[in-house]
């Protein structure tokens, strides 16, 4: 255990990582004419999975209709889905190179594992709903729209930080 901790390389400087991330985003603008995303891929995935599980229900649903499209092309054959697959691969690659692959639960010292996992689940559910309402998450709205001076993205970004700081105190035991 200790050996693994020791050999894990330190994180990169935040400004330099941010610069790298910014260049990736810029490349996406120049090559594709669109920015990055993450939550959209989850939409396509859920629509496909639910279509397999409950085809009749999904075909009647107004919500899924826009993801299933014409029914000829799979919603998984989508730009964002492939981009997010790349995110998994890129994250894995960086983790391997820095010796950071390790089964773990991220939490502060005063938090129990089961409660942390429950919170992770609730947080994930809340955020994807928020992202669906806002038409994007920190990637599609904050990063992408932020650098395009998009009005909605800047409103969104302020609300993310505002909402987080407003409730941070109540969840401090989880993290510090």
């Amino acid at each position: 255990m200790n050996n693994v901790e020791h050999s894990a390389k330190p994180y990169w400087n935040p400004y330099l990582s941010g610069f790298g991330l910014g260049l990736v985003l810029l490349a996406s603008f120049v090559i594709m004419g669109r920015g990055l995303g993450a939550s959209g891929a989850i939409n396509a995935f859920v629509a496909t999975a639910m279509h397999q599980l409950a085809p009749d229900h999904v075909e009647k649903s107004a919500y899924y209709a826009e993801y299933l499209g014409d029914g000829v092309h799979s919603p998984l054959k989508d730009w964002l889905v492939f981009e997010v697959l790349g995110v998994f691969v890129g994250g894995f690659l960086s983790g391997v190179l820095a010796n950071r692959l390790k089964f773990r639960v991220e939490k502060g010292p005063r938090m129990t594992n089961p409660l942390r996992l429950l919170f992770a689940f609730i947080g994930g559910a809340l955020m994807i709903i928020g992202a669906r309402l806002a038409l994007g998450c920190t990637s599609g709205q904050a990063l992408t729209g932020g650098s395009l001076l998009n009005v909605g993205s800047w409103i969104f970004m302020m609300c993310v930080f505002g909402g987080a700081y407003a409730v941070a105190y109540f969840f401090r035991k989880q993290w510090i």
Binding site: Y11, N13, L21, F29
Partner: protein, 421 residues
């Protein structure tokens, strides 16, 4: 060279998926490098212990923003072709707050949870499961809130257009704001943790020497200053269109609405489209399709409808409608359709349908009913289409009769709508 490459047709959809994958790898790589696979490090942002989230996010934003500005200003990129997510104020406020609260509870955002789970974080994996279940649940309540998710639409709009300020000035302001936030973040980290920032990795800490971080900050500040004085990044004042996309859609015929289809929509009382008559006021007063509004080609200004409204255009023979269709597409309207065949088709198909040999009697009966609804009548068998058009025209110009059902249709609208549901 013309960029965005994809929008200028340098490669197709299949290739774009490979590019998506490669771009994703870069995205995931830098997220993990920054330490964003760790929920604890991410959440530390909200306790002022480690403000990496702010630093990474805003460095990325100002890098991409100034880079895109410069490339557009140099004429390499057509900025108007970069996709802008439309603004819906209330949903984006509510969504943003939910995301912020969820961030503190869950510890990740959707993108970072991918990086976290793939490097072995179990809470990251559970977070992903939470997203899937949460979204499936949301899909079930979605019908009841469908009208709220599109509240307060503002269309695709930048801060520059909203405040009516030069684009470059806002770029400069955002760069300055970000640099000030970095200095404040370093100060806050020092206050809360009690340790001095690492001189090599910070902008403000330690002796005043040029480090890679300071070179980067200076470079971004310089790029922001160039934006302030270099002028507008958009290409000229002419509107631009995605000709390839346009050609594909024309080829598929998805830009057209059939007369019979339109008649059904009007009878059903559907109000999710704007029907626009492009003929002169006099022609319009003589006869128009019920629910249409009169808008001659010359008075077609970009603000006559929201950019995402569904608009159906028609004119006498379709020429003016086709011209208007092109103009509106160029101005960025997303859902513009032509009434196939124009008012002529409306006359021959809807108002004065003709029974031909192969027509199913039941279908024809319905056609007759529709025709009567709009004040028309079935044509006699054997009349040649050309002759009947000539016959139909004066009939149309004479009475205001077809307008009466229009009033009826708006009266029956709510009832019909409920039936539809």
């Amino acid at each position: 060279m013309n960029a965005p490459f994809y929008k200028f047709g340098l490669f197709g959809d299949e290739a774009s998926l490979i590019i998506a994958f490669v771009i994703g790898i870069g995205f995931g790589f830098f997220l993990e490098r920054a330490g964003f696979g760790s929920g604890r490090k991410l959440a530390a942002q909200f306790y002022f212990r480690d403000l990496s989230v702010l630093k990474v996010m805003f460095t990325a934003i100002i890098t991409a923003m100034t880079g895109l500005y410069l490339l557009s200003r140099l004429g390499f990129v057509d900025l108007s072709l970069v996709y802008l997510v439309p603004t819906f104020v209330v949903p984006q406020i509510v969504g943003g707050l939910l995301l912020g609260i969820g961030f503190v509870i869950g510890g990740y955002c959707p993108g970072t949870s991918c990086v976290s789970s793939v490097t072995g974080s179990i809470d990251g994996m559970v977070y992903v499961a939470g997203m899937i279940v949460g979204l499936a649940g949301f899909a079930e309540v979605y019908p009841s809130m469908q009208s709220y998710v599109q509240m307060t639409p503002m269309g695709q709009i930048t801060l520059a257009r909203l405040f009516n300020l030069p684009y470059g000035l806002l770029v400069f302001a955002v760069v300055l704001m970000a640099l000030a936030a970095f200095a404040a973040a370093e100060w806050a980290e020092k206050k809360v943790t009690g340790t001095s920032p690492d001189p090599k990795g910070s902008i403000t800490g330690g002796p005043w020497r040029m480090t890679p971080v300071r070179i980067l900050a200076t470079g971004l500040a310089a790029a922001g200053f160039v934006a302030l004085i270099a002028g507008d990044p958009y290409r000229g004042s002419h509107a631009s269109i995605d000709t390839r996309d346009l050609a594909i859609r024309v080829g598929k015929g998805v830009d057209k609405v059939q007369a019979a289809q339109l008649a059904d929509w009007i009878i059903q009382g559907r109000n999710d489209f704007k029907l626009v008559d492009l003929r002169s006021e006099r022609d319009f007063d003589a006869y128009h399709i019920p629910t249409a509004q009169d808008l001659p080609l010359a008075s077609l200004t970009p603000d006559f409808a929201a950019h995402n409204d569904r608009i159906i255009l028609y004119s006498g023979d379709g020429t003016e409608a086709a011209q208007a269709w092109f103009l509106l597409e160029a101005q960025g309207f997303k859902n513009v359709y032509l009434l196939d065949g124009g008012l002529r088709a409306w006359q021959t198909i809807v108002l004065f349908p003709q029974k031909s040999a192969g027509t199913d009697p039941a279908v024809f009966e319905k056609q007759v009913e529709v025709a009567k609804y709009f004040g028309g009548a079935p044509r006699e068998e054997g009349t040649s289409p050309a002759a009947s058009v000539a016959v139909a025209l004066p009939k149309l110009a004479a009475p205001a009769q077809p307008l009466i059902p229009a009033g009826n249709s708006s009266n029956t609208q709510p009832k019909k709508k409920k039936e539809g549901c």
